[in-house]
């Protein structure tokens, strides 16, 4: 009987799964289809035809809906009573972290699943130093961003029923223990829930500006016992630029159906870079002074773009995939030109974390290999599975 054979076959196939990767609330490892560049243009033509004109290389768009608000009547900062908890678990064996390689001393982990405290870990060993308790009545921490000094962090919590996003600032002592946790009431957002994807919150150096993505129209619906999530085309996202001290807010509406993530500020706050996930796919920048959004032409197909960071000189470093392998590309925001293009080894995996700028170098992990690029010099290091790639620093 084929049904008996079928049962045995399905059981055997399912049994090949013996171990699974742990679930995480956010996706730091980017997994994209690796498409040979020569055919990518054909493959994405249909999708790009639906993309708004503004996503063509060099084009600039000025979104029609840029709103500014100020919650001036509220206090700018409300210190919360906080007694940092001791480590929840006995110290584990030392685990090497990517944060340590980027010269960070502390790394914040645990945000993104909600309801649980965030932990401050030693970046060098991965050992937990303290836990930052969840503010009373909140749903826990969902997003984190560092202010560039490895001591100041911003966090969010979300009230789903009332569609409110609250912001907090955490300061660490020199020994990594929490010094102060404050709510920033003037930064509170009331017009939608958080967006989707990793790195929806970004802070400038010094924490003078925050950027955050909210969305409306993304519903999870249950019908006749089944379920569905809204098509991306129904989603309306906004980028909020917030001054956490004054409460000044600016909201830039994106075209309907545009979904973005991986926000990163230029350290001086003059530009915000982000990844457009749909309907196009590629790197974009926002000028917060004008609300103009610009496509960043990295010299390849949009579908080959993976992730980017911005250095203190205002140059973007982006990881792209081309037919001959991965490349780190330096792009000048001032001149809108590629200033450096460094090929990396050909990789059989499309899993990558980074790039992250560290001093005059850029660091990226692809598969089990870490690349540190200084100038055009590439140093590699096999990192295996012992490295902890998660967290904010």
């Amino acid at each position: 009987m084929i049904t008996e054979l079928l049962r045995e076959a399905l059981s055997d196939a399912a049994a090949t799964v013996e171990h699974v990767r742990p679930l995480t609330g956010r996706v730091r490892r980017r997994r994209r289809w690796v498409i040979p560049a020569a055919v990518t243009a054909t493959a994405v033509t249909a999708a790009m035809a639906l993309t708004v004109v503004s996503t063509r290389p060099g084009d600039v768009t000025r979104p029609g809906d840029v709103t500014r608000t100020n919650e001036g009547a509220l206090p700018s900062e409300v210190p919360l009573p906080m007694k940092a908890r001791p480590p929840a678990h006995a110290p584990t064996a030392a685990r090497w972290t990517l944060a340590a390689y980027t010269d960070a001393k502390y790394v914040l982990v645990g945000a993104g699943t909600g309801g649980e405290p965030v932990a401050v870990n030693d970046a060098a060993t991965g050992k937990q130093i303290a836990q930052v308790p969840v503010p009373p009545g909140s749903t826990g921490y969902w997003d984190t961003a560092g202010a560039g000094d490895n001591r100041t962090f911003f966090l969010t919590s979300v009230d789903y029923k009332r569609a409110i996003v609250s912001f907090y600032r955490l300061r660490l002592n020199a020994d990594g223990h929490p010094q102060q946790l404050s709510e920033l009431p003037r930064a509170t957002l009331h017009d939608g829930l958080q967006g989707e994807g990793p790195q929806l919150l970004a802070a400038t150096n010094g924490g003078t500006k925050l950027a955050y993505v909210t969305e409306t129209g993304a519903e999870l619906t249950i019908t006749h016992g089944g379920s569905s999530m809204t098509d991306d085309a129904e989603i309306r996202e906004r980028i909020h630029i917030i001054d956490p001290r004054t409460g000044d807010q600016q909201a830039i509406s994106l075209p309907q159906g545009t979904v973005i993530d991986e926000l990163v500020w230029a350290p001086d706050g003059r530009a915000l870079a982000f990844t457009e996930e749909t309907p196009g796919n590629g790197l974009r920048t926002l000028d917060p002074a004008t609300g103009a959004i610009r496509h960043v032409d990295l010299g390849g197909d949009d579908g080959a773009f993976r992730a980017a960071d911005i250095g203190s000189d205002g140059d973007i470093v982006a990881l792209t995939y081309r037919a001959d392998g991965n490349h780190l590309v330096w792009y000048s925001l001032a001149t809108s030109k590629i200033t450096r293009d460094v090929p990396l080894e050909h990789s059989h995996t499309d899993q990558a974390v980074g790039p992250t700028i560290v001093g005059d170098a850029a660091v990226v992990v692809i598969g089990n290999t870490m690349y540190r690029v200084t100038g055009t010099s590439v140093r590699t290091r096999h990192v295996g599975h012992d490295i902890d790639l998660e967290g904010t620093w």
Binding site: I2, T16, V17, T24, R26, W33, T40, A43
Partner: protein, 178 residues
């Protein structure tokens, strides 16, 4: 505890669910992570894609929490993963000319311990339309009733019956041709 027994027990405590349905649902994903990955693997063929699908569904659920609880958590979890598998299969069909789809665990090139006759039936199964494949997996792997399959697939019990019947007929044909 089987997949369904486990999921059923998770869905049984309505008081807890009412208190925080979204966290209950995500806890269900955590507890039954491997079961959901196995289900996705049978649809997709390879473990990496299966893990990605379950991870993506979980991450999106985290981002789209709502206060309205699903009526049936077990069906909800299955349906969410199956929906995501269907989407990935559609994308694969579209991109097959341009990308190399991962080798399924039952491919001749893959070094896993599955007897050849079982590999044949699994290869035949992948040649079926996704809906037929889905119905067969739910019936013969998870041992779901027609009503439960209907709930998971969002179709009527009558359609389940005809889909299963056509699927098994097509499977026999494909198996003989393998």
């Amino acid at each position: 505890m089987t997949f369904d027994q486990g999921l059923a027990s998770c869905g049984a405590d309505r008081r807890q669910e009412a208190a925080d349905p979204a966290s209950h649902l995500t806890e269900l994903f955590r507890v039954h992570h491997m079961s959901l990955v196995r289900l996705a693997l049978l649809m997709l063929g390879d473990q990496t894609s299966a893990e990605d699908v379950v991870q993506d569904v979980y991450a999106r659920l985290q981002r789209r929490r709502r206060s309205r609880p699903p009526a049936d958590l077990a069906a909800y979890a299955r349906a969410a993963v199956l929906n995501a598998c269907r989407s990935l299969l559609r994308r694969r069909a579209l991109m097959r000319r341009f990308v190399e789809v991962p080798q399924p665990v039952w491919s001749a090139e893959n070094d896993v311990l599955i007897a050849e006759d079982r590999r044949r039936v699994l290869r035949a199964l992948t040649r079926l339309p996704p809906r037929q494949r889905e119905a067969i997996i739910l019936r013969y792997y998870l041992n779901l009733s027609q009503a439960e399959i209907a709930t998971s697939m969002g179709i009527s019990p009558g359609t389940v019956k005809s889909t299963l019947s056509r699927g098994l007929t097509a499977l026999r044909v494909q198996y003989e041709e393998e």
